[in-house]
Amino acid sequence: MSAPIVKLIAQRVALGILLLLAVSVLIFAGTQILPGDVAQAILGQSATPESLANLREQLGLNQPAYIRYFHWLGGVLTGDLGTAMSSGQDIATSIKERLWNTLFLAFWAAIVAIPLAIILGLIAVRYRNGWIDKLISGLALASTSFPEFFIGYLLVYFFAVKWQIFPAISTVYDEMSFGERMQAIVLPATALTLVVLAHMMRMTRAAILNVMQSAYVETAELKGLSAFAVIRKHAFPNAIAPIINVVMLNLAYLVVGVVVVEVIFVYPGMGQYLVDHVTKRDVPVVQAVGLIFAAVYISLNIIADIAAIVANPRLRHPK
C-alpha cells in the first residue's frame, strides 16, 4: 500500500465517523422535538405534576438537552443503549439477538443475489440486444417492479400453502439448529433476492457496456479472445467501481430496508423490532435502532468508496 492510498482511505473513514456523529445529533434532536417525553409516556393517565417532576428528576430529564445528548452518546460508545420504556429490558441485549437475525438473513440473501446479479449482467452484455439480454432485463425489471409484499405473498401462496415445501412463517429461536434456520429463511431470502437483483444486474450491465466502447476492448478482440473472455478479463475489471457501489447500496438495503419482508414472514429481525417500538412510542429503542441503521449504511458506503479507490490501479500503483 502506498502513501496516497492510505491517506485517501483515512480521509474516507474520518468522514464516515463525522457523518455518523452528525446523524446521532439529528436522531437525538428529532426525538426531542416530538411532543411529550419519556416521563409522560411512562406515567400516562396517572401523571400528576408532582410525579412527573419526580420521575424527570430520577431519569435526568430536567438537564439541558446537550448534556443528555452527551450522556446518551457516552452510553452508546460504551455499549449501553439504555432501557426500553415499554418492557424495561436492556436495549443492547434485545438488539443483539435481533441484529444477528437480520444479518443472518441479509448474508444469505446477498450470497445468492450478488453473484447471480453479476453473472446475469455479464451474460446480458455478452448477448447484448439479443433475446437473452431482453429476457434477463425483462424478468429482472418485473421482479423489482412488483412490491415486495406482493412477491412475499406469492411465494407464501405457492411454496407454503399450495406445495407446502417451505414454512410460511419464518420465526427463528435460539434452540433451532443451523439447518432448521436455513429452511426457515428460504422464502424471505428469496423475496429479498428478487427485490435487489434487478438493480445490481442492470448496473453491472450498464457499467460493463460503458467500457465495452474502449480501445482496449478492441485490442483484446484483436488478440483473438472469445467474446466472454473479453468481457470477463478486460471489461469487468474496469467496471468494478460502479458495480461495487450498487452492490453496497443493496447490501445496506438488505439490512435496513427489510421491514416489510420481516413483517410478512414474521421474522424476528431489526425491522420488526423497530416497527413494534415505533407504535409503542418507545423513544430510546427508536433512537438506538436508528443509530445502528445509520452506522450500517455509512460503513457499507465507506467500504464501497474504499473498494473503488483500491480497485483503481492509478491510485494503487502511482507513478
Binding site: S214, A215, Y216, E218, T219, A220, E221, L222, K223, G224, L225, S226, H234, P237, N238, P313, R314, H317, K319
Partner: protein
Amino acid sequence: MADGKAKSGLLLDIRNLRIEATVYPPGEAPKTITLVHDVSLTLEKGKVLGLIGESGAGKSTIGLSSMGYGRGGVRITGGEVILNGRDILKGGKEGFRKLRGREVCYVAQSAAAAFNPAHRLMDQVVEATLLHGTATRAEAEKRAVTLFKKLSLPNPETIGQRFPHQVSGGQLQRVMTAMALCSEPDLIVFDEPTTALDVTTQIDVLAAIKDAIRDTHVAALYITHDLAVVAQVSDEIMVLRHGRLVEWGGTRQIIKEPRQEYTNALVSVHEIEHKEQQPGTAPFLSVKNVTAAYGGGQVKVLKNVSVDIYPGQTLAVVGESGSGKSTLARAITGLLPPEQGTVTFDGRPLGNKLADRPKEDLRQLQMIYQMADVAMNPRQTVGTIIGRPLEFYFGMRGRERDKRVAELLDEIEMGKGFVDRYPAELSGGQKQRVCIARSLAAKPKLIICDEVTSALDPLVANGILKLLLNLQQVEKVAYLFITHDLATVKSIADSIAVMYRGEVVRYGAKSKVLTPPFDAYTDLLLSSVPEMEIGWLEKAIAGRRMESAGN
C-alpha cells in the same frame, strides 16, 4: 493455393474488397453506405505496404479487414481476403479468432487507450501468445523482454511489471509494437502508430518500429495520413481516397513522381507561402514574466514567460505536449490566473482572473480549440452558435443578427445553407470553420488558436490555415497560434516562441528563430519533423544532439 503461395512468397492477397456500413443520419431513414469500393492489394512476406489517405479514405477499414474485423456496424460484403493461401472470410468467427493475435497482430493509434489500465503490461503483452498456445509463459516473457530491448525501452527486464499509466506515451507505443511482435505473427497492421505522439518522440518510435520490422522479417500494413512518415518505413505505398484506390506504387515513385493529381496534392501539402511581417511599433498585448502553476502552486507549468503580440500579426507558440503552450493561453485568457507577472492589453494590465475582467476585455480575446466538435453545443444550429456572440457582445437581434451571421458564413467560405445545420452534420473542417466564425463574430483583436489544425487531415488543415491567413488580411486580427507542428508554424507565423518545459527557450521573428545556430532543443524539434525523403529517418537519428523528452 498452397503451391502458389510457396512460389510467390505472397502473404496477403485482397481481391475486390467491398466494405459497407449502415448509418443512421438524424431525421432520416437508416441507409447503407459503401466505405471501400472493390479495392485489391497484395503483400509479400516481410514487405511493408503503406496505406495513406485522409480520414474516411478507408485505410483502417482495409487494414482491419485482414483480421476479419469491422469496427462498429462495418461489414465486409464482397471480395476475398486471402491470407497464407486461404480466404479468411470463409473461416467464420472461430477462424477469425484463431488468426487474430497469431497470424495477424494490430498496433493501435493510441497505445495509451489500447492498453487495459487494470492489468500489468507483461500480462497484456504475452496474452495473445498464451491464448494461442504458441509458447509457454516463461518462453513468452523471455521473448517479450528481448523485444523490449530491441525496441530500446528503458529497463526491459522490469518494464513489464508496470501498469500502462506508469509509462509514457512513446514507450507505450513501443510496448504495443512488442506486444504485436510477441506472438511472432506473419503480418502486423500498424494503424497510425505515431500520429498521437510528439514530433520528437515520433522519430524514436518510428526508428524502433522500422528496426523491429527489419529484424523480425514480419510483413506490415502501415496506415497513416502522413506521407513523410510512411515514406520512411514502407517498400510500397498505396494512396486511397473515399474508399477507392488512387495510386499504388513503389515508395520512391509515389513521393518523387506521383502520377495522380491527388497524390501530388498530398506530397506538396503544407507549402503555403507566407511573408513574414515586421513587428509594428508597439505590441497590443504583452505577457511579462508570467509564472503559473496548477494544484495550488504545486506544479509549475509556466516559468517566467514573456512574449509580445503585435496588431494583425501571428505569434506561434511551439513545443511538445507538457511544454506549457496551452497553459500560456489559459493565463492570457484569465482561465488560470498567473501566480506572478502581468498580462498587459492596450497599455493597461488585464485582470488576473476571468471574473475580474469586463465584458469588453473578454470580447477582445477569443479562442478556437483543437476539438471543434466538443467546443460547440451539439443541440444548437450553426446560426445559433455564430449568432450567440453577436447577441452577447453587441446586443444584435433578429434580422440584423441573421444578416451578420450570413456575412460571417460567407467569410469562412460556407454558404447560407449551413445556417440551419447541426454540428453533427458537418465535416471536421467545416466544424472548425464554424468555430472560427464564432470567434470572429466578437470582432476581437486577438484569437488564440490552440492546435486548431491538429485533428484535421493535411489537406483540410491546409484549407483552414489559408482561411486564417486571409481573414487576418481582411479583419486585421492577431493570432496566438499554439501548435506542435513546425510545418504549420512556417506557413503562418510572423514571430515564434519555442517552449520547453514551461520556459521560452527561443523567441523572435520567424526568420531569426528558424535560422542557425540553433539551441539544442530547437535543433531537436526542427530535425524531428519528418521530411518527404527516403533515408531521412536514419540521417536525422544520426545527427541528433539531445535526447527527446519522451524517453
